[in-house]
């Protein structure tokens, strides 16, 4: 069940209608059933995996606060981490590692006969295992209280608005909201509506309409593309992936708001970032914070000198890249992001982290950063490292305006410019919901535009969310 489908909205309307008629216990049971239906609608066979992850982590959390002996507590935490990473490792990385191992053996002159694994990746597994695993780590560290009941914890893991593509919520933020009575506050409906409309616009209009352009460019051999075509394809992918993922997060936030539960912001206008560290504070925020708290800092963070800091940054970003998918292209993307973080640090990132007074300087720095991010997107989207380098090579020549470049460029401008202009306004006002404080006629204009676009300009075929595959 995906957010941009009729069945989801029929499902959500039914849930909402019942939800606010029930007491807290009933609300939570309804949400839990709804979440399992939501997940099972995709493939019911993987509900067991979700259930297993839930059971293990709930009981690990339960006993972590009841056992004092440090060795046993460590064992419990290890059990949780190993269980979650095993699920992730088997379903997501098993085939990749077997294939890579076979390639290595072939390179060494052997003829390996390894099994061919066709494992279906359970949707959202990277998101819920990370969320569930963070809970046990936080309970172990004493920074969060264990869930009061298995039902509540199961809901925390499976909560449908953010189950399959995040945000990866922290237990100390989400669990208390699930365990305490909720009520709709004035303004919740307005905020939810705003997030949903904006999210649908980003996903259905911008991301899905750019998909055919991106597919065409990335499906064409680089030698047959001009520099302009590659550039447009990469720009299109930059906005496709941003709008696809941030659109999902926005709808999740809006849907959850109508259920009286706040989800965190996963994106804050990342393409206006002036440095890689700012980018990661604005892009997929819940993942970057997860990587920071559960990987980068435990590795030593920046506390062990510059050399070790750079190594930690590289390691974190490499694993962050691998989190996105079992392919060397994602590893290369992570490496590129790590290199950018290291390079900016070497260059003195504090220059970029100070608030700039000159708008033009901000724009220039943001444009430079955007293009560096775009180079990373080539690796992210390419089918192979070879294709990525070939496309980067194609960027160096042939800047004539072809028919396709004109066609794709015009569509890119049509779909992206209004969004960029609006986000620039929000960025400058430093208020993600600034529109809610504007006069009613301005909201009518914005909502009218968003709704009109969603009605008239959906793409010819519906696209699934890119981040479901991660």
């Amino acid at each position: 069940m995906i957010f941009n489908s009729f069945v989801f909205w029929a499902f959500f309307a039914t849930v909402l209608l019942l939800y606010w008629r029930l007491p807290l216990l009933g609300q939570n049971r309804l949400l839990l059933v709804a979440s399992y239906v939501f997940y099972g609608y995709w493939d019911w066979r993987y509900l067991g995996l979700l259930g297993a992850s839930t059971l293990v982590d709930y009981y690990v959390g339960y006993y972590l606060v009841r056992i004092d002996e440090q060795r046993k507590r460590k064992l419990l935490l290890t059990l949780s981490i190993v269980t979650n990473l095993s699920f992730l490792g088997f379903f997501k990385y098993c085939g990749f590692f077997v294939d890579s191992f076979a390639e290595l053996l072939r390179a060494l002159g052997f003829e390996p006969h390894l099994p061919v694994l066709q494992i279906v990746l359970p949707v959202g597994i990277s998101f819920y295992t990370f969320q569930s695993m963070a809970y046990t780590i936080d309970v172990y560290r004493g920074v969060t209280k264990p869930a009061t009941s298995l039902f509540n914890f199961a809901l925390f893991v499976a909560y449908f608005p953010q189950l399959v593509a995040g945000p990866i919520e922290r237990s100390n933020e989400l669990l208390p909201q699930l365990e305490n009575p909720r009520r709709l506050r004035p303004g919740d409906f307005a905020e939810g509506l705003y997030h949903i409309l904006l999210g649908l616009f980003k996903k259905v209009i911008v991301a899905d309409n750019l998909a055919p352009i991106v597919n065409r460019v990335f499906d064409t051999p680089a030698a047959e593309l001009t520099g302009t075509e590659v550039l447009i394809g990469v720009y299109a992918f930059a906005f496709q992936i941003y709008c696809d993922f941030s659109g999902y997060s926005s709808i999740a936030q809006g849907v959850s708001k109508w259920l009286g539960i706040d989800l965190s912001y996963n994106f804050r206008m990342p393409y206006f970032s002036r440095s890689p560290s700012e980018f990661w504070n604005r892009w997929h925020i819940s993942l970057s914070q997860w990587l920071r708290d559960y990987l980068y800092i435990p590795l030593g963070g920046n506390r062990r000198g510059p050399g070790r800091t750079y190594v930690n940054l590289m390691l974190t970003m490499l694993l962050g890249g691998l989190w996105h998918g079992a392919n060397w292209t994602f590893v290369a993307w992570g490496a590129w992001q790590g290199l950018l973080l290291v390079a900016y640090r070497l260059a003195g990132t504090e220059t970029f982290e100070k608030p700039a007074t000159n708008v033009m300087v901000v724009v220039l720095q943001a444009v430079a950063m955007f293009h560096l991010v775009c180079i990373g997107w080539i690796f992210f989207r390419a089918e192979s490292i070879g294709q990525a380098f070939a496309m980067i090579g194609a960027l160096g020549h042939g800047f004539e305006i072809t028919d396709f470049a004109l066609y794709a460029g015009t569509l890119l401008v049509f779909f992206v410019t209004p969004l960029l202009a609006y986000e620039w306004y929000v960025f400058r006002r430093r208020d993600m919901t600034v529109v809610l404080s504007r006069p009613a006629w301005q909201r009518v204009t914005l909502y009218g535009y968003l709704a009109g676009m969603v009605v008239v300009f959906p793409p010819l075929t519906q696209q699934v969310f890119i981040y479901f595959q991660f």
């Binding site: 307005a190 396709f404 569509l411 009613a440 909502y447 009218g448 709704a451 519906q462």
Partner: protein
């Protein structure tokens, strides 16, 4: 509940939502009043009830040619009229339609109307367009050819899943949604250079990717067409299906041949027509005017034979 609803629709936001809805309704009403001017096809669709009523009068012999652009480009009704002198001929060929559209159209415009009577309905098709496996366009069905009551037999009108149902209902309620492709194409043809060229290329690539595996796997069935032919027969109308010529060769499915052999309908096979060459095609499928003349003459002869044998 009232308190919750009151909270949900805080006064300012209620005004905003109502204003947006009013705006959408205004655009929609305007579109409903003017949509026939958006394209020739929409004007044709709007004229169908009148065309059908004018020609399909019970007091005379009449024939309805039904199809999509393939039939529209392929059949000249005046040539059929000239050959079948005593038979009035109507041509109804809305673009991009198929079995499911034609079923609703025939159910509501022919079978369901007492004052309409055709002796023969001729349906032009190619490939598996008349099979149960052909894909329904729920949006088009909702907006143009089916009625609310058809939702009660959603499966029988080609709606396969909840997404189709949603499309159908949305298109029935919101004309702007139903005609989104037309609106989009009209705007982009003006504003986006080479729009038609690359959209067609994208569609062709997509069709190649999505249709091939299904085509290999599907066992084509014709239950819907058989039911439709049965209902038409109940009204005294015989059904003739015509396999139209296209550049790419295709097979006539076994079950369709079986329907013909069991007398449920007549089948005229015009996949190969003497005199028709590649030069008579505008593209891979559609005939030019010379091709239309050639095909229509052959079809007229075949129809004359069929009608005579029926008498």
């Amino acid at each position: 509940m009232r308190t919750t609803l009151g909270t949900l629709l805080g006064s300012t936001e209620a005004r905003v939502v109502l204003a947006v809805l009013a705006l959408i309704a205004l655009v929609d009403v305007t579109l409903r009043l003017t949509d026939s001017r958006l394209s020739g096809n929409l004007a044709h669709v709007e004229a169908i009830p009148v065309i059908v009523a004018d020609v399909g009068r019970p007091e005379r012999q009449s024939l309805l040619v039904l199809g999509n652009s393939l039939t529209n480009n392929g059949v000249a009704p005046e040539l059929l009229s000239a050959r079948l002198a005593s038979v009035a001929v109507a041509k109804v060929t809305p673009d991009a339609t198929g079995l499911w559209d034609w079923q609703c159209l025939l159910d509501h415009q022919v079978i369901g109307r007492d004052q309409v009577q055709f002796d023969t309905v001729v349906i032009g098709f190619a490939w598996h367009l008349l099979s149960d496996q052909s894909r329904a366009d729920a949006s088009r069905l909702g907006a143009l050819y089916c009625q609310w009551g058809d939702l009660g037999r959603a499966g029988a009108i080609g709606l396969q899943n909840s997404g189709d149902l949603g499309e159908f209902v949305s298109a029935k309620v919101l004309r702007t949604y139903a005609l989104r492709d037309t609106l989009r194409n009209r705007l982009f043809q003006i504003a986006v250079p080479h729009y038609i060229q690359f959209t067609q290329a994208t569609n062709a690539a997509r069709a190649g990717v999505t249709d091939e595996p299904a085509a290999q796997l599907a066992q084509y069935t014709y239950r819907t067409l058989a039911g439709l032919a049965e209902r038409l027969k109940g009204k005294g109308t015989r059904v003739i299906v015509v396999a139209m010529p296209v550049q790419q060769e295709y097979e006539i499915d076994a079950q369709l041949r079986s329907l013909h052999e069991h007398g449920a309908l007549e089948l005229i096979d015009l996949r190969k027509v003497a005199g028709l060459e590649a030069a008579h095609f505008l593209d891979g499928m559609h005939l030019n005017s010379t091709g239309q003349q050639i095909l229509s003459r052959v079809l007229a002869e075949d129809l004359a034979t069929e009608l005579l044998s029926a008498r």
